[in-house]
Subunit: 321 residues, 2 copies
Amino acid sequence: METREIIIDLLGSDLGPQEMLEGARLVLEDFPDVNVVLAGPRDLIEAAGLPEGRYRILEANRTVTNLDNPIEAFYSKEPVSVFRALEEAGSCSSVIGVINAGNTGALFAGAIRFLLADRDVRPCIAAILPTTKGGFTCLVDTGASIDCGAQQLVQFAHQGTDLMRKLYKLESPRVGLLSNGAEPTKGNKLVKEAHGLLSREEGINFIGNIEGNKTLSGECDVLVCEGFAGNQVLKNSEGMAVNLITEIIKYGKTHNVPAAMEIAGYLMSRFDFASLGAGIMLGTRKVVVKSRGSCKRTAIRNAAQILINLADDKTIYESID
Amino acid sequence: METREIIIDLLGSDLGPQEMLEGARLVLEDFPDVNVVLAGPRDLIEAAGLPEGRYRILEANRTVTNLDNPIEAFYSKEPVSVFRALEEAGSCSSVIGVINAGNTGALFAGAIRFLLADRDVRPCIAAILPTTKGGFTCLVDTGASIDCGAQQLVQFAHQGTDLMRKLYKLESPRVGLLSNGAEPTKGNKLVKEAHGLLSREEGINFIGNIEGNKTLSGECDVLVCEGFAGNQVLKNSEGMAVNLITEIIKYGKTHNVPAAMEIAGYLMSRFDFASLGAGIMLGTRKVVVKSRGSCKRTAIRNAAQILINLADDKTIYESID
C-alpha cells in the first residue's frame, strides 16, 4: 500500500508559514504512517530540516489574503498555494486530504474547481462542537455559504446528516434549524422558508427550530443555518468560552483561589475551540479541514487527526460522560 | 409632583401572571416612590393583596402568544394587555415606562402605534451586555427588526450612540458592525452595504467590523447588527455562560472541588443574562423594557431598576474593575 499523504497549505495563516511548518513536524512525529505534502515557498521548507523521505514540496509563493479577491487570485499566473494543494489532492490517489488555515473564499472556490463530489451540490463547511450532554453537534454551514437560499439549507441538512450518521453511527440524526424562537412562525424569511421545506423533506429527521441559547445543548445532532449566522454561533461560542475562562483565572488570582486554575484547565480542554472549531468541508472527494486563521502548531496536528479519522470514517472525537 | 408609575404587563410571559405579580410586589417594596399599573385580569390582580393606593388596574384578559399573529391581535375587540399598557403609557403623563415579557412582535407593533418618538424612525430593541474589560456594550438590534435594510443598521448606530452617550457619558461611543470577519470585504450583502454607509455617516464613530468572538471584548461601545444575528449573539452568549457555569458545578461535585461553587456564583453575578439580557426599546417616547419570556420575579424587579435609571438618564449598571 502506498503511504498516505496529507497536504498542508503553509500560506495564509495569521501566524505565518513557520508555525504551519512546526505543525507539519508534529504531524510527522505523531503519525508515522502518514507523510506530508507541503504547499509553500521551497526555500522555507528545505530550511526546516524535516525528516527526509517524509515530505514532498508543492512550490508556491503566493497566497490569498482576506483582503484579496479570491476569483482574481484564481487566474493569477503565479502558483497560489491553496489552489496547488487542492489540485494535487484531486489528482493524486495517495493524498487523503488537505489542511488549510487561510482565506475561506479561496479554499471554497478551489474546492469547487478541483474536488467537487457531486456537480449539483455546493460544498459547505461544518464544525463538530461539544454539547453539554457530552456528545457533539454538527454545525453547518459555518461561514462558507453566506447569503444562501432555503434549498441550500436543506442540502446542508442532508450533508450534516450523512456526516453524523457515518462518524457517530447515528441511525437518524436529529436536525434542528437555527432561529430566533422555537415556534415554526419564528425566523427571518430564509428560515421560515427552510422550515417549510425541511418539514416535508424525506430522509431528514427534522425536529424544528433551535434558539441561540440551545445551540450546544445537545437537543439536535445537526444544526442547520446560513453561513453568516453559523459563523456567529461558532465564534460567539468560542468567544464566550474564552471570556469566562479568563474571568475564572482573574478571579482565582485576585481572590487567592488556587482551584480556579484547575477549573480553567478543565474547561479549556472541554471547550477547546482552537481545535474543535476546525471546519470540515462537506461535499468534496477528499477531506478538507479548514483550521482557524490563528491556529497554532498543535491545532494543525489536531487537524491531521480529524482528517485521518474522517478519511477512515471514524468518530472525530470521543463522547464525554 | 405626581407619583411616577411603571406599567407592568402581566400577560404573555412563560411563567404566567402570578410570577409577574410577584415581580410587581418586589418593585413596590424596593421602590417606595414609584407605583405600578398592572395590565391583566382584574380578579387575579385584586386577589394578590398588593398594598392599597400603590397600584391601579388596566383590565385586559387577552394576550398575544408567540403562535398568534400580532397584527390580527391588534384589531381584536377584546382588550389585549400589551396594547392597553402601551396606549396608557402614551397618554398618561405620570407613567414613566412599560415592562413586558411577552411576544416581541406585538410589543413592537404597539410601540409604533402608541409611543413612537419620531414618525420616520422605526424603534429597535437594544441590550446592554457586560464586556470582559469591565464596561458595557450596547447590542442593537436584538431581534425586533428581522430582515431589515442597511439604512436601518445606520439608524441603529445612531440610536445606540445616543443611548451610550446619555447613560455612560461617553463623548464619542465606538460603533462596531457585527460581521464574519474583521476586514471591510467580509460580510453578507447587508453588512457590506452597511459598512459603506457607516463609513460615510456623520455623527457616528465607526470603527469597522467586529467578529463573533469579539462581541463582548469591549472593543466597541455599540455593536450594530440586524435583528436575527443580534438575537443569536444575545442568546448564544447567554447559553454559553450557562453551559460553562453548569460544567463548573458538575466538575466541582465529581472532583470534590468546593471552590467551584464560589467561582460559579461569581460568574453568575458577572454574566447575569437573566437581567442583563433585558431588551431596551429605543425610539419611543417612554421607556419600554422587554424582559425575557422566561424571566422570574427578580428579573422584573431588575427591569424596573433599569427603567427608572433610563427615565432619569442614569447609567443602568456600574462598570466593574
